[in-house]
């Protein structure tokens, strides 16, 4: 399986995403420069987090004009799996590959913290390895993650099962307290109608090794591997879960807090 990780000027989670694909999952991965006009023979495309083009004007607003985005649109239109993480999600919104927009966090501050999201839909290429309703512990790190769309758009998303992730309490309750940014309906991630394009604000690539606090994000990457049978099975993936570090038994408790 080959991962293409798009690098915009100002992307800053490109290396982290590449690290997960290459080192944690042992898959093929390539960084694709935003001026390139080919995705190579990618099986999956990831738009990583960061501040593409400085997020000047508006988050993701300039990135959608990068040459590679035409290829990403074609890839998506042909049914290829595309994942936008954080700034990548914002780019997908600006590019019209996903509906809605991001407002400033309601705290008006950048927020970086671990939190919990519930997997609402497992029929996307990035959630099919999750259990329905599974709660994933992942970090967020954003200033503009307050998801907004017109009421009819939101109700259509809900009706079609396009809300893929929702911010929840550790126990799984959809509460205002669990909502870190003011997103409508606690929306943390959505997919398009064809379900092959997914965007989410939390960072699964930061939650793929217990040594750094959580390995729950792996299920998102495992899903995409499962989609192509024979490449690697979920069981094999979980064996390499801890990544490069062998953790002393108890230290996980501290780090995993």
């Amino acid at each position: 399986m080959k991962f293409a990780v798009v690098v915009f000027p100002g992307s800053n989670c490109d290396h982290d995403t590449y690290h997960v694909a290459k080192e944690v999952l042992g898959q093929e991965a390539e960084l694709i420069w935003h001026k390139d006009r080919s995705l190579g023979r990618a099986d999956v495309v990831i738009l990583p987090g960061g501040f593409a083009h400085g997020d000047y004007l508006r988050t993701g607003a300039i990135a959608r004009f990068s040459p590679i985005m035409q290829e990403v649109s074609k890839f998506a239109a042909a049914g290829g799996p595309v994942l936008g993480i954080c700034n990548g999600f914002q780019v997908l919104l600006e590019a019209g590959l996903l509906p809605g927009a991001m407002l400033r966090n309601r705290s008006l501050q950048f927020r970086c913290q671990f939190l919990h999201v519930k997997v609402e839909q497992t029929n996307t290429p990035f959630t099919l390895a999750s259990r329905p309703g599974q709660i994933l512990k992942m970090p967020i790190a954003h200033g503009d993650g307050n998801y907004y769309a017109e009421p009819d758009v939101v109700s259509r998303l809900e009706r079609n099962g396009q809300v893929v992730f929702r911010y929840v309490s550790p126990a799984g309750a959809v509460t205002d307290e669990a909502n870190p940014n003011g997103s409508l309906n606690n929306i943390a991630g959505i997919c398009n109608e064809a379900r092959n394009v997914v965007g989410l604000m939390p960072h699964p690539e930061r939650a793929c090794e217990l040594a750094i606090g959580s390995a729950d994000g792996l299920s998102i990457f495992e899903s995409i591997l499962k989609k192509t049978p024979g490449v690697i099975s979920g069981a094999e993936v979980s064996e390499i879960t801890p990544g490069v570090f062998s953790l002393a038994a108890g230290s996980q408790t501290v780090l995993n807090k």
Binding site: F51, I212, V244
Partner: protein
């Protein structure tokens, strides 16, 4: 060149004395023109020349088997094995951060990041050490929120995690906050790049943001006190563009992978002036540039303005002859345009032309190595006599231990800094092994089994009461913090924040603090590989608490063995390493309860401190120690509470009473004394005796004081129950104290 008339008022505006002017004339063999005077003034400013501090700094230990680069370059570097080097430095941006908190702090972050990647290192961690006035002052809250969002705005965008730091509050910082930023990067040990210009005929390139009129005389501003003309100094603060810096960072690292560069330096303080003459001076060469080729943001800029501008995000490169096209191509890819502005020459001079006409011609060394150096007069401050006197009985009634404990937890110096660090992206790059607020900052080094622990510390109250001992205590605390995570301290960087050095009492504080810092670093075997001095931290004639911040870097052999401060499991045994004495001098207790900075700081036995740190490194490395937390502000009572928070576990301990306090103060001193060289450690029940014998063998006092468990923080002194609080109650006070200052403000606004 027609010389401009240099009058006394021109000299005064440039911060150059008559005497210094005489030296300039001698060195040039003629009168300088205005451009040349401007160049001398910034290079001879305190900020660039270290003219008051250099004689003292020379006494610091800077060498060791691991040191790859000591002071004198853009940053220091130490060997961390696997062919890798840790490149790090701390720098201040105090003055700009008071004038314009957001941009001042943001450009401080930008500046230190450039220092690190200039060495060929990829920056992987930021820390900061901040000082503000008391939070009940709305101006202070405005400054603090501006500084925090400035740090966040820059660091988050560029994608370097802010993984830790420290914040303290004292009235002396109200009009002069301190913003010290630390950055660490990783480079291949044999591929470190220097800021040097050599090889006659090699091309000098300018790359990055265009030059504007911002920041002209920033270095001179940072070398003067503040007074009520403050608002007029606003144009001297620069504006940062983290996106530009991100492009520069990636493009420079890409260029450095080729072997096309002779040297590279960022344009920080004193901009183009400093980078050209310093690179020339280091390489024993001359540099000739034409300012008309420098990309300019505004029209009609004079050579004077171009040479002195401190516009951000600019770099100067010396490229090997014949390799220019390769370099230009890489910068083009990143939409940056490297501009050829001059050449390396053989005559050791900085020659500045404008459209081919020479506008300045100065020997490089006269601007750098031969800059003035002063041995300023020092005298022991008069305040010490009365300040060192401490008699608790003079302060009126002693509150109950419970009352003191709760007030301490709510004190911003001790309370959780979550309101601050949740605004920083502290996880990007996926190396953060210990989250902020869990002890030292710890990041793994990908591709190796190692991790690096970092801590920045200074207790300004201790330094105020005894600069020599206070600076030693800062070194001891920072290295102890690193050792608590399981790391062996291997190098340090310092940021010395003091008042006006022309005052003999301030200079005495400075001199004694540097002596103390040197002695502690020698005893603990920690070389100082570079740093920064910030003087003139005064507003309206009042200086800040002397604040020599030290940043210590430690190496963890096995990243999987890193421990934090939080307790781990019910039933674990709690051991107190070190000894508690009746030492409330300069304590948080006095500060919180009586608003006093008095007495003498806790005593420090450096050989015992070294032994303690060895036990910590050995104990964590062998997997015996499961959590470790230094006892600092607030003493053992606050340390125990902090070990319970995060873990959500309680603790039940019995402390031995300090023997040297009168009956009335015995409990208070036992709980809140800030004796040095103490650490609260937890171990699995079966490992308690192993740890105790490890400590005994090292000569470190150690006592099993109780167990982890339950829901309460229960502390007895000599068997007498003294404190008994629900962990959740105590944690609520501690967790919300700082936040409530800012949320409250929002509610009103």
């Amino acid at each position: 060149m027609t010389p401009d008339p240099i009058t006394d008022s021109v000299l005064e505006r440039h911060g150059v004395t008559r005497e210094e002017y005489g030296r300039i004339v001698t060195m040039l063999g003629r009168e300088p023109n205005l451009t040349e005077l401007g160049i001398f003034s910034v290079m001879w400013s305190e900020h660039c020349s270290y003219k008051s501090s250099r004689v003292h700094l020379k006494t610091l230990p800077t060498t060791g088997p691991r040191v790859l680069q000591g002071p004198g370059e853009n940053a220091g570097a130490v060997d961390i094995g696997d062919g890798l080097a840790a490149v790090f430095k701390i720098e201040s941006h105090n003055h700009p951060s008071f004038i314009e908190p957001y941009q001042g702090a943001a450009t401080g972050v930008g500046g230190i990041i450039r220092d690190i990647f200039t060495m060929g290192a990829r920056p992987i961690a930021l820390l900061n050490s901040l000082r503000f006035g008391p939070l009940d002052d709305p101006l202070v809250r405005r400054t603090m929120s501006g500084v925090v969002s400035g740090i966040a705005g820059y660091g988050n965008s560029i994608g370097i995690p802010t993984v830790g730091g420290e914040i303290a509050f004292d009235r002396s910082y109200t009009g002069n906050p301190l913003v010290n930023v630390f950055c660490l990067g990783i480079a291949k040990a044999d591929e470190i790049i220097k800021g040097t210009a050599s090889g006659v005929g090699n091309a000098v390139y300018y790359v990055g943001a265009k030059t504007g009129r911002d920041g002209i005389h920033g270095a001179t501003m940072a070398s003067a006190e503040f007074d009520d003309t403050l608002n007029e100094k606003r144009p001297a603060v620069q504006v940062g563009d983290p996106f530009m810096e991100k492009l520069l960072l990636e493009a420079c690292l890409e260029v450095m992978k080729t072997d096309t560069l002779v040297g590279i330096q960022d344009m920080g303080a004193a901009g183009l002036t400093c980078s050209t003459c310093e690179m020339g001076s280091r390489g024993g060469a001359g540099v000739e540039i034409d300012v008309s080729k420098v990309p300019q943001r505004e029209t009609g800029m004079t050579p004077y303005e171009i040479m002195l501008s401190e516009s951000q995000e600019r770099m100067l490169l010396v490229v090997k002859k014949g390799r220019e096209a390769e370099v230009e191509q890489i910068f083009d890819k990143w939409d940056l345009h490297a501009v050829h502005i001059g050449e390396v020459t053989s005559d050791g001079r900085l020659r500045v032309k404008n459209h081919g006409q020479v506008v300045a011609d100065i020997p490089n060394r006269s601007l750098t190595d031969e800059a003035p150096m002063y041995r300023r007069p020092m005298s022991r401050p008069a305040y010490l006599e009365s300040a060192q006197h401490l008699d608790l009985a003079e302060f009126g009634p002693l509150p109950s231990p419970r009352d003191v404990f709760r007030r301490m937890l709510a004190s911003p110096g001790i309370a959780s800094k979550r309101w601050v660090y949740r605004q920083y992206d502290h996880m990007v790059r996926t190396n953060t092994l210990l989250l902020p607020g869990m002890g030292a900052a710890v990041v793994r080094v990908k591709g190796t089994q190692h991790a690096l622990a970092m801590s920045v510390d200074c207790n300004g109250r201790f330094v105020y009461l005894d600069p020599y001992l206070g600076a030693q205590l800062a070194v001891a605390e920072a290295s102890r913090n690193v050792a608590c995570a399981g790391a062996l301290p291997i190098g340090a960087t310092n940021c010395l924040n003091f008042g006006n050095p022309e005052k003999p009492e301030i200079m005495w504080q400075f001199g004694r603090a540097v002596e103390g810092m040197g002695a502690a670093c020698r005893a603990l075997d920690i070389p100082i590989t570079g740093g920064n001095v910030s003087l003139y931290n005064e507003t309206d004639g009042r200086g800040v608490l002397p604040t020599p911040v030290i940043g210590v870097v430690g190496l963890v052999e096995d990243a999987g063995r890193v421990v934090g401060r939080a307790f781990r499991s019910e039933g674990d045994v709690v051991v107190l390493l070190g000894e508690t004495r009746n030492e409330l001098g300069g304590s948080e207790f006095l500060h919180v309860v009586y608003e006093q900075i008095r007495g003498v700081p806790p005593q420090l036995d450096l050989s015992r401190e070294a032994a303690l740190q060895r036990v910590l490194v050995e104990g964590t490395g062998s997997g015996v120690i499961r959590s470790a937390h230094d006892c600092a502000e607030g003493g053992v009572a606050v340390a125990l509470a902090e070990c319970c928070f995060d873990a959500g576990l309680g603790v039940d301990v019995d402390l031995a009473a300090v023997s040297d306090a009168s009956a009335e103060y015995r409990e208070t001193a036992s709980l809140f004394s800030e004796s040095a060289s103490r650490v609260v450690v937890s171990v699995a029940p079966g490992h308690a005796s192993t740890l105790l014998s490890m400590a005994a063998a090292a000569g470190v006092p150690a006592k099993q004081i109780g167990h982890v468990g339950g829901k309460r923080i229960a502390i007895a002194v000599d068997g007498r129950p003294t404190l008994n609080e629900l962990v959740s109650d105590a944690e609520r006070i501690w967790a919300t104290a700082i936040e409530s200052w800012f949320e409250q403000r929002r509610a009103i606004a």
